[in-house]
């Protein structure tokens, strides 16, 4: 695995440096990604000739609009045998909680038609271990590193934000207020607009990093939540998290998951996700990262047209660890086929 210094453009520790470096980043990718190309393997050039894949999520610059979805990407190292992590639009790690979280009892998984039902329960080694053992590895790669966080209380979200902001090499925080698989906190913060806003404002108050808030589809009107967190200062939104679901084993007459209910992901949820992205992108001014059932570049392109500025690949990566690379290459090929110079031309370009 290739190693490289963290791209200065995504190290937001010093505002001045960030602004200057972001300019460089744009110039670099503007001419066929030369800035990134030098760090990628020669077999896998970052951008096609004349095609710009770079996108902006507020102050955050992504070399291309495709990232892994939190919770399906471990801490990056799991995917390293299969792909060059430097090719991704961003690195997005599994949810970090303040204390180590053991997760839910097994069975945690059940396959459903074109879908995956899970109740992992945010299993993670906790903030300390993340900072000590996972972050140094992740820092070696060039794409911006987005760290997903979840707290049991509003204060815990704030503490996580403060302590992660003090660490080097993190480009943005993704605030998970939408996990359906934990008893404390989790989805409660994501379904009540006032709570979602409080969490967002608290995190914003504790960090200089861009704050992305991840929304749940398990609400009556997702645009209400989207506006609430936008008003509270969110810099971007990710949607959607998993849909609450259930499966039953007819042989044992028991729930297929030990936790009884879980979160549904995979191709089965794509139409729901696409609809949520389209509705939210029209309801807010901040950028939206679309996710939910993206398997191919064509899926990703639908999300961009619906208004997503970037996309995340989740469950598909568990089936095909190279899916994310195939999506990046497919978007590039589509742009070339269509004679487009810039992926941003597609964002929100849905014709109605």
């Amino acid at each position: 695995m290739e190693q490289a210094e963290k791209r200065p453009g995504v190290n937001p520790k010093e505002e001045d440096e960030k602004l200057g470096a972001r300019g460089k980043g744009l110039a670099g990718t503007g001419c066929a990604g030369s800035g990134l190309k030098s760090r990628s393997t020669p077999q896998e050039p970052e951008t096609g000739a004349g095609v710009n894949l770079e996108v902006q999520l507020g102050d955050l610059t992504l070399p291309n609009p495709v990232m892994p979805a939190s919770g399906t990407f471990g801490f990056g190292e799991e995917y390293a045998p299969f792909l060059d992590l430097n090719r991704l639009g961003a690195l997005v790690v599994k949810t970090i909680t303040l204390e180590p979280t053991p997760g839910n009892p097994p069975p945690r998984l059940m396959e459903t038609p074109s879908g995956l039902l899970n109740s992992i329960g945010l299993q993670n080694p906790g903030l300390e271990v993340f900072l000590r053992e996972k972050l140094p590895y992740l820092r070696r790669f060039t794409p911006p590193l987005i760290v997903n966080i979840a707290g049991r209380t509003v204060e815990e979200y704030g503490e996580l934000a403060a302590r992660l902001s003090a660490a080097e090499g993190i480009a943005a925080l993704e605030v998970n207020i939408s996990c359906p698989n934990v008893r404390e906190g989790g989805i409660v913060f994501g379904t009540v607009p006032e709570m979602a806003a409080r969490v967002t404002a608290t995190v914003k108050g504790q960090t200089h990093l861009p704050v992305i808030v991840k929304l749940t589809p398990n609400v009556t009107d997702i645009t209400v939540l989207a506006r609430a967190v936008e008003d509270a200062g969110a810099d971007a939104l990710s949607l959607i998290n998993t849909l609450q679901g259930m499966a039953i084993d007819l042989e044992t007459r028991r729930p297929a998951l030990a936790n009884i209910v879980g979160g549904l992901s995979g191709p089965a949820i794509k139409p729901v996700a696409l609809c949520a992205v389209w509705r939210v992108a029209r309801a807010v001014k901040i950028p939206v990262i679309g996710m939910g059932g993206i398997v191919t570049a064509r899926d990703a392109l639908e999300f961009l047209l619906a208004g997503a500025r970037a996309v995340a690949v989740g469950t598909a990566g568990l089936v095909n660890p190279r899916a994310i690379i195939e999506v990046i290459d497919g978007i590039k090929a589509y742009l070339q086929e269509q004679g487009l110079q810039d992926v941003n031309e597609l964002v929100g370009a849905l014709r109605i």
Binding site: Y79, P105, P106, M110, E111, P267, G317, V319, N320
Partner: protein, 260 residues
């Protein structure tokens, strides 16, 4: 660990729903160890969605052999693949059995648990071990590859629940009888979880170091999703969840939390 397209060399039905699949996969076969598994795409579309983990039944000469039961749509699709067709697989995955040499070993297989233990038995013999292989099934129709097992130069002990072949009763009871008169340096098992729990109790009582291969529903197979966990106990007796795909599928029986 590789992701590759492997060519089907042979797909042989050896029982009404039991198949042997031989795949040409030199890169995986060269490094595969007993107890490891491969993760196969079983279909071209999005349903079934997930890969299917199958333990490596044997490996050598650039080929992998898999032994599996047709249980659902994925394995049914796999059983229809003919020589020459390509199968997408990841492997070798997971941690295998601890190999020793010049020892006396007991291998205890329940039903399909024979699959990974065949590869272990062959390598254990090549390393100069004496191997007693205990193989149990519901009835004689559930016993497979008996000749191939005997060809390994092992001592084969058979048990069936209905007594239609060999000892009548669970295979662990057959092993328990042998444990009374024989010393084993190590023991290995694969099979249904209740049988493995019984195996673990017997191994502990006889102070035989023992390992089991566990099964759990799996999504990625390479440690990213944390979906296929099993409960283990650490050195202080604290319970925690470990991935079966990367922490296992082979575990020391002393580490496994058998009560759940």
């Amino acid at each position: 660990m590789q992701k590759l397209e492997a060519e089907v060399v042979a797909s042989i039905r050896i029982g009404p729903d039991i198949c042997l699949l031989r795949l040409k996969a030199p890169a995986i076969a060269a490094t595969a160890r007993p107890g490891q598994f491969v993760h196969l795409r079983c279909g071209e579309g999005l349903d079934p969605l997930l890969r299917r983990p199958l333990s490596i039944h044997d490996s050598g000469d650039g080929e992998l052999t898999l032994f599996y039961q047709v249980k659902g749509r994925g394995t049914a699709w796999l059983s229809r693949q003919h020589p020459g067709s390509k199968v997408d697989l990841l492997g070798p995955l997971g941690r295998g059995f601890t190999l020793v040499s010049g020892r006396r070993l007991a291998l205890v297989a329940g039903g399909l648990g024979m699959a990974p233990l065949f590869f272990l038995a062959r390598q254990a013999r090549e390393l100069g071990n004496e191997v007693d292989f205990f193989y149990g099934a519901r009835n004689s129709r559930g016993l497979h590859r008996l000749e191939a097992l005997e060809d390994l130069g092992i001592r084969l002990f058979i048990a069936t629940d209905d007594g239609s072949a060999g000892f009548r009763g669970p295979v662990t009871a057959l092993w328990e009888k042998q444990l009374k008169d024989n010393h084993y340096d190590r023991a290995y098992a694969c099979g249904p979880r209740p049988a493995l729990a019984a195996f673990a109790r017997l191994a502990a009582a006889a102070a035989v170091p023992a390992e089991v291969s566990l099964e759990e529903r799996m999504a990625c197979g390479f440690g990213a999703c944390r979906g296929c966990v099993t409960a283990l106990r650490d050195s202080r007796g604290e319970k925690y969840y470990e991935n079966v795909c990367t922490g296992g599928p082979v575990f020391d029986v002393a580490a496994v939390c058998w009560e759940g």
